[in-house]
């Protein structure tokens, strides 16, 4: 029985980190949906979110409830500046060039963080409390439970926004057909900016949650790679896919990490990635692209 309980606890922890993966994947999906750019710097923006929170909460001594929105705003600002300054200039270039630009951006952000805060890992000031949460008999870390709840809430809000908000509808229209969206009077460049701003803000928020669980370091951008697996498995342009695949990858990581050893985590997730690319390149819920000559 205790084996089963342990399994349940591991699975719950997996779902918790899976929710964070979903949230990060959402940032990928948002940006890809609107602008067809795979932003590999999402992991680094997530890291910036953590460091912004550190700067605001520990450096300036703001209360966490002010520091969290400030960190999210900082991430969103980076997204807006990058979109306007770099990505907008790259319109019409091959997707690979834009992809490489985001790789370069990630490197710049890591370098800046190392310049300003050094390479040592830091812990974020605690704002969630530490009292454990029990679901039935199963123990769940409080931070993971809160992260799960927040991530679930944010994703629900996003789904609602896509459905009912004008901006969300404009974003979906742009994703479906750019030219048609233009001719309906939608401000497509504005949608691009919006997607980058919200996407990077989301990533920064995920960074605060992730950092408060495991601490922050300049290398935490690697989390973006796991999120990349999530979006490929779920489908690059599918919010629901990010949710389902995030939870699934989180579970797989928790199980392999516990029962096989930490070093197997990445191998399993990337094994799934390659398998997925071979079988269903457009992901579980993604749109199949048809290529014509």
């Amino acid at each position: 029985m205790s084996d089963l309980l342990f399994f349940v606890e591991v699975s719950l922890a997996g779902l918790g980190s899976g929710a964070l993966l979903s949230l990060t994947a959402l940032a990928f999906v948002l940006i890809y949906k609107a602008t067809r750019v795979i932003n590999l710097a999402v992991g680094e923006i997530l890291m910036m979110g953590g460091y912004f929170f550190l700067a605001f909460a520990a450096g300036w001594g703001l209360s966490p409830w002010l520091a969290i929105p400030a960190a999210i705003a900082g991430g969103a600002l980076i997204g807006a500046v990058v979109e306007r300054g770099i990505i907008r200039r790259m319109l019409g270039e091959s997707p690979i060039s834009v992809f490489m630009v985001t790789v370069g951006l990630g490197s710049v952000l890591v370098g800046i963080v190392e310049l300003v805060w050094g390479t040592d890992p830091r812990t974020l000031p605690d704002f969630m409390g530490t009292a454990p949460v029990f679901i039935g008999e199963a123990y769940v870390s409080r931070k993971i439970a809160i992260s799960f709840a927040v991530a679930g809430l944010v994703i629900a809000v996003f789904l609602a926004l896509f459905r009912f908000w004008r901006g969300g509808v404009a974003l979906r229209a742009t994703a479906t057909d750019q030219a048609a969206a233009y001719s309906c009077g939608i401000n497509v460049p504005g949608v691009f900016s919006l997607a980058w701003t919200i996407g990077c803000g989301t990533a920064a928020g995920a960074g605060v949650l992730l950092g408060s669980i495991g601490g922050i370091a300049p290398t935490m951008g690697a989390f973006g790679l796991s999120a990349l697996v999530v979006v490929i498995v779920g489908g690059l342009d599918s919010v629901a896919g990010a949710l389902v695949a995030g939870l699934a990858i989180g579970l797989v990581e928790a199980w392999t990490g516990t029962y096989l050893g930490g070093e197997y985590k990445l191998v399993f997730t990337f094994g799934i990635l390659i398998l997925m690319l071979m079988i269903r390149p457009y992901g579980l819920f993604g749109t199949k692209e048809i290529e014509r000559l």
Binding site: I38, I86, R89, M90, E93, P95, I96, S97, F99, M100, V101, V103, G104, L105, G106, S107, V108, L109, V110, G111, I112, E114, L115, G118, T119, L225, L228, V229, I232, E263, Y264, L266, V267, F270, G271, L273, I274, L277, M278, P281, E291, L293
Partner: protein, 347 residues
């Protein structure tokens, strides 16, 4: 466009070196490369060897990414395969080092074909992501297949020996590594005068059209992967003999990004671009080191700034080149050349 180069055959038109002036400059370059080690000190010889290794690997990646249009972030992992193969053969078989290098290349080519298999289904960014996945899995193998790779401790490599002389100094290594790299570059340049090379280019320009024209896509894409990883494998083998140790940290995803960045900065789909790009990207960190040393009397702990500044500059170079000079350094060189062809008749 050069004048007075009318040719009567296609063969002459496709020749790598077409005019007397070009022959003269090539001779000057060869003589310079041969004489350089006598003029350079040990530090610059070290850099020259490193540049030769990086040029070989970047040229390989250029064949795959620049000429066939298949983006790969696995070049570092392929180099690691070559390096480990060389280290293992060196310890357990003891074959001559040229044979080891060749075997390292073949091994990497075999792995490259395996990694290239997803290119059957996916291309573009998806392929780039698949190669990231493959290199992470390879990294895992290097770290955990302890009996062959030495696990996290890695392996030491005995110095290469030629005609019974162990090659230990950078001076000796220069005379081995640079000619090998030069041969590999020459091979790549000649590849694109053949049917296979032209097929690669056709696939890059529009793969569906290429298939319609009768180019078997899968076979040629895998061939491109094989050639490119062969280059990476040989370069990795040279790397192993140069640093005399191989470990799992030697070739990370950062290495792969480095080579892709070198190809982008130099100029995709240009042999010259691969050479200049690899040279440039190898030397920039050293220039930064001089810069940091220059400011160290005025700034506290300037030494700790070096690594983050390198990271920032590395990323900024990728961004700036892609935004402002997408054709890379090779295009700048071409502009300068065009200017001097017409000078002084046109400014």
């Amino acid at each position: 466009m050069r004048i007075a180069t009318a040719n009567e055959t296609y063969l002459a038109d496709e020749a790598l070196i077409r005019t007397r002036t070009q022959w003269a400059w090539t001779a000057v370059l060869a003589a310079g490369l041969a004489a350089a080690p006598f003029a350079l000190n040990n530090y610059w010889l070290y850099l020259a060897c490193l540049v030769a290794i990086n040029v070989a690997s970047a040229t390989g990646l250029n064949i795959l990414t620049g000429y066939t249009g298949l983006v790969s972030l696995g070049q570092g992992a392929f180099m690691a395969v070559g390096a480990y193969t060389v280290a293992w053969l060196d310890r357990n078989v003891g074959a001559p080092f040229l044979v080891n290098l060749f075997a390292g290349g073949l091994m990497a080519a075999a792995v490259g074909i395996l990694v290239g298999l997803p290119s059957l289904r996916v291309k573009g960014l998806y392929l780039a992501i698949a190669t990231i996945g493959a290199s992470i899995i390879l990294q895992f193998v290097f770290l955990n297949w302890t009996s062959v790779t030495g696990g996290s401790r890695g392996m030491n490599v005995a110095p290469a020996s030629l005609f019974g002389t162990p090659l230990t100094t950078y001076f000796q290594l220069y005379f081995v590594l640079v000619p090998i790299a030069a041969l590999m570059v020459l091979g790549a340049a000649n590849l694109f005068r053949t049917r296979i090379g032209r097929a690669f280019i056709a696939i890059r320009d529009r793969d569906i059209s290429a298939e319609v024209l009768g180019i078997p896509l899968l076979r040629y894409k895998l061939l491109s992967f094989a050639v490119s990883s062969f280059y990476a494998g040989v370069a990795g083998g040279m790397w192993a003999y140069f640093f005399r140790a191989v470990g799992p940290e030697s070739f990370t995803i950062v290495e792969s990004i480095f080579y892709l960045a070198a190809v982008i900065v130099g100029g995709m789909g240009s042999i010259l671009g691969g050479i200049i790009g690899a040279t440039f990207m190898t030397l920039v960190p050293e220039v930064l080191r001089f810069g940091v040393e220059a400011i160290s009397p005025y700034v506290d702990n300037a030494g700790t700034l070096l690594s983050p500044v390198r990271t920032v500059v590395f990323g900024a170079l990728i961004i700036l080149f892609l935004v402002f000079e997408p054709q890379g350094l090779a295009e700048i060189v071409q502009r300068v050349r065009r200017f001097f062809h017409l000078w002084p008749f046109r400014k």
